[in-house]
Amino acid sequence: MVIRASILCAALVLASCGQVPRDTEGSLERIRQNSRFRVGLISGSIDGERRGQLLLDHVARTSGARPVAESGAAEPLLQKLEEGRLDLVVGSMAEKSPWRTKVHFLPPLSRNDNAKPSIMAMARNGENAWIALLHREAERVGRLP
């Protein structure tokens, strides 16, 4: 039984090496097909270095899709993200926000001191291929001087 299970695991690993991770709801595939991704911009975010915009430019270049943005308060935007009606939310957020359990927080685009929230980007949980792409780009933007 152990041997069979190990063979099954090994087969799964080999079969999936090139295609892992994939999205639960197929976000990246849809974004590439439609050539657009839906972004929520948190109103009132203090983003002097325009890191949010930089991330959108990077993601647009890598995914071959253009951002379709809407602005609003953080709460309704994150709600939409959780429900899959947005692909990405960008703006000022506390790094220890309670939303952490409901949506995925990408690496910070810029880090302020403890008193001020950082510029963050959030994606829908489970969309692991889309998150992998966003993660790479968020890290690149976050490393900029």
């Binding site: 690993v13 892992v20 829908r124 489970g126 692991n128």
Partner: protein, 307 residues
């Protein structure tokens, strides 16, 4: 002062102790690795918590093996053999709790429809999917319990040690949970959010079954039930054979058997005691481990309230 154990089992007891120390050592490295690989994954944290709990039977075995040897004292005139029964109960509760916790966790993930995120991670300047790191940690976590569990089973059988046997079951639970974790992480990587929780649920059901059986057996032992089999909650064959043999030798008596740890205590009720009793002679021919019969006591007619 320490009490001596039957010489036939000393070697196996020493081997069991060594196996448990190796378990604590290797499982500690597994715990460190799993903690580092867990990231923000709830599933990995659950697996880590389960691994922490899995150390309980090994720890309890080592403590019980030490306490069991203590000489009877004024405060504990019957000695400490029964500490094994207590250790068995603690191990059984731990095993059942691990299964129950895992079952609850996976069921609630499925009911809530929680989509698991496994993000990339940067290690030594290279960014890779954290799932691969998790799988590597899980593969490592499967190996020690798989080997140790199999090594413990025959020793537990020879020693008739239910704590060690429950620990072997816990190790089985460990490696099965590890394999389920690998399938789960791969499933998440392939876009099946339910894979992790579904795999865990099947494994959890089997752990709960083992845990409940151990719990029934250990409870029976603590309330002076007839000795139970090592692997299930049924009366042990050698105990049944011994009862028959004693009933044949003392046909007018009522025979009662109970288990204190790995030993049997027999009570012959309603007859006068013999001057000299040879325990080895009373042990049924054809049954191994005559050392299990530790005591035969006699209750003459009228000497207890039940008469």
């Amino acid at each position: 002062m320490t009490q001596t154990m039957p010489p036939e089992i000393e070697q196996d007891l020493a081997r069991a102790r060594r196996l448990e120390w190796v378990t604590l050592g290797t499982m500690s490295t597994v715990l460190v690795l799993m903690f580092l690989a867990a990231g923000s994954s709830q599933a990995m944290r659950t697996a880590w918590f389960e691994d922490v709990l899995s150390l309980v039977p090994a720890l309890v075995f080592l403590i019980a093996a030490k306490v069991e040897r203590r000489q009877p004292s004024r405060a504990f005139p019957y000695g400490f053999h029964r500490v094994q029964s207590l250790a068995f109960l603690i191990s059984a509760v731990t095993l059942a709790s691990v299964g129950g916790f895992l079952l609850f966790d996976s069921a609630s993930t499925l009911i809530k429809g929680e989509h698991v995120t496994i993000a990339p991670v940067t290690l030594f300047g290279q960014t890779l999917w954290l799932g691969w790191v998790m799988i590597a940690a899980l593969v490592y976590s499967v190996i020690p319990p798989l080997i140790l569990g199999r090594l413990k089973l025959p020793v537990a059988q020879r020693l008739q040690d239910k704590v060690l046997h429950t620990d072997a079951l816990m190790q089985k639970a460990d490696w099965m949970t590890g394999l389920a974790g690998i399938v789960g992480v791969l499933g998440v990587g392939l876009g099946f959010w339910w894979a992790d929780a579904t795999a865990s649920m099947f494994i959890a059901a089997s752990i709960v079954r083992d845990g409940v059986s151990a719990l029934r057996s250990s409870t029976a032992e603590l309330i002076d039930g007839a000795p139970r089999k090592l692997e299930k909650d049924e009366i042990a064959a050698d105990a049944e054979e011994l009862r028959r043999r004693l009933a044949g030798r003392y046909p007018d008596a009522q025979i009662r058997l109970r288990e204190t740890g790995r030993f049997f205590n027999a009570q012959v009720r309603g007859v006068l005691p013999e001057n000299q009793v040879d325990l080895d002679e009373l042990w049924p021919a054809g049954e191994d481990r005559p050392w299990r019969l530790a005591q035969v006591s006699f209750i003459p007619p009228g000497a207890d309230q039940e008469s």
